[in-house]
């Protein structure tokens, strides 16, 4: 039987990908950011997950303004790095797990989540930066990936409550897959940041850390945070944190925190990272 063994959350700032690709991860600016991922890199080498369900948002790369899926799951065999205007990141292709992905997609639909199925797409920094942060620069990514894209761009985006419930349903789906697989779920994006308008540059260390505290607790209070609170407190792009709730919802009620890291700033953004495992 497949099982979800851990949850990882991380910011996915594109500049982190640039730092990796240009070998700047230990300079004065990026050093303190990447130092907070050293623990996780080592831990991932020991954990050797077979598959990562990677919850992220597409930044106008695979999906244009035409089609806006609220929840989309990648069921393809592999995905290439997207050209976001600079040329594609020089990272390995991302190998999918079509059997597990289709199983999750079908299970979620029967569980009342009306998923959009994606067979072919390119994946942008939202998906490839977290892989680089956790795995560095291997020739080939060490695990398969099921991309799960959430609309956090065009409002209304899904509620925190719905994202948490999707996580719960993903847990049920994974646990009904007959093959013995070590599956992790990652929630990406955040933390506080605003990339637009005169208020751009807003960061909120206090709120971000309260959110991290909430994720570690044995309750589901975080699912009830309303969109307006994310917008007021964490900037217009801080709403990406609802994707962390998909990860948290998939871990069950009790979790153990294994690692946590917070750093301000990276470009326009507060960097947050947490590693949790189910505690029952």
């Amino acid at each position: 039987m497949a099982r979800i063994t851990a949850g990882v959350a991380s910011s996915h700032v594109p500049l982190l990908g640039v730092a990796v690709d240009q070998g700047k991860t230990r300079d004065d600016y990026f050093g303190p950011i990447f130092a907070g991922y050293d623990w996780t890199k080592k831990w991932e080498e020991e954990q050797k997950p077979d598959v990562v369900i990677l919850v992220y948002n597409d930044h106008a790369s695979a999906f244009d303004a035409n089609i806006i899926p609220t929840f989309a799951i990648g069921c393809g065999e592999s995905y290439k790095s997207a050209d976001e205007g600079w040329g594609p990141r020089p990272v390995p292709d991302v190998e999918g797990h079509a059997d597990l992905a289709w199983h999750i997609a079908q299970s979620l639909i029967l569980d009342d989540f009306d998923m959009t199925i994606i067979n072919e797409m390119d994946v942008d920094h939202g998906l490839t930066v977290p892989l680089s942060m956790m795995f560095g620069q291997p020739e080939k990514w060490p695990c398969k990936v099921v991309p799960l894209a959430v609309n956090v761009v065009t409002y209304p985006v899904p509620s925190g409550n719905r994202c948490w419930a999707l996580g719960e349903a993903i847990k049920r789906a994974v646990e009904s897959f007959p093959e013995d697989l070590n599956v992790q779920i990652w929630g990406t994006g955040g933390m506080s940041h605003q990339l637009q308008g005169p208020r751009a540059g807003l960061l909120n260390r206090e709120w971000d850390n309260k959110f991290l505290d909430l994720l570690e607790q044995d309750n589901d209070d975080a699912r009830h945070i309303q969109h307006i609170e994310y917008l007021r407190e964490t900037g217009s792009e801080g709403i990406e944190m609802v994707m962390w709730l998909v990860m948290r919802g998939a871990l069950g009620q009790k979790v153990k925190r294994l690692h946590r890291h917070y750093h301000i700033p990276c470009s326009n953004t507060a960097i947050g990272h947490i590693v949790l495992e189910p505690a029952e």
Binding site: E84, N161, Q194, A200, S267
Partner: protein, 139 residues
Amino acid sequence: MTDTSAKQNIHEYLAEFDDIPGTRVYTAARARKGYWINQFAMSLMKGDNREKFKADERAYLDQWKLSDDAKEALLARDYNRLLDLGGNVYFLAKLFSTDGLSFAEAVSTMTDMTFPEYRDMMNNGGRSPQGNRSIKGGY
């Protein structure tokens, strides 16, 4: 426990967004208005299109269903104006990249700071949420 069965009314939900200082939340209304601005920006993901755009920006823009306002704002790289016209920052980012601007530098042009001032603010902890959460509430 909070009652999660209480669904938000869409009008009340959207009205709250107008109370956030210096922010244009990318609502469906903005997405409709800015559709072709965003689709134009999307086209810059292809290297060939970037070259054509750079060779003659106005001629390239003339191929899209854009208002004169939108074309002027795009030519001027007036990003706050583009947000008002329904542009979204993740689409407009293709234009930042085409211009060779970092995200932070492009974003700084939407504030009242120069890029060095903006960068200093970020390195010193970013813009404080204090006084920046609500227009009506002033908190």
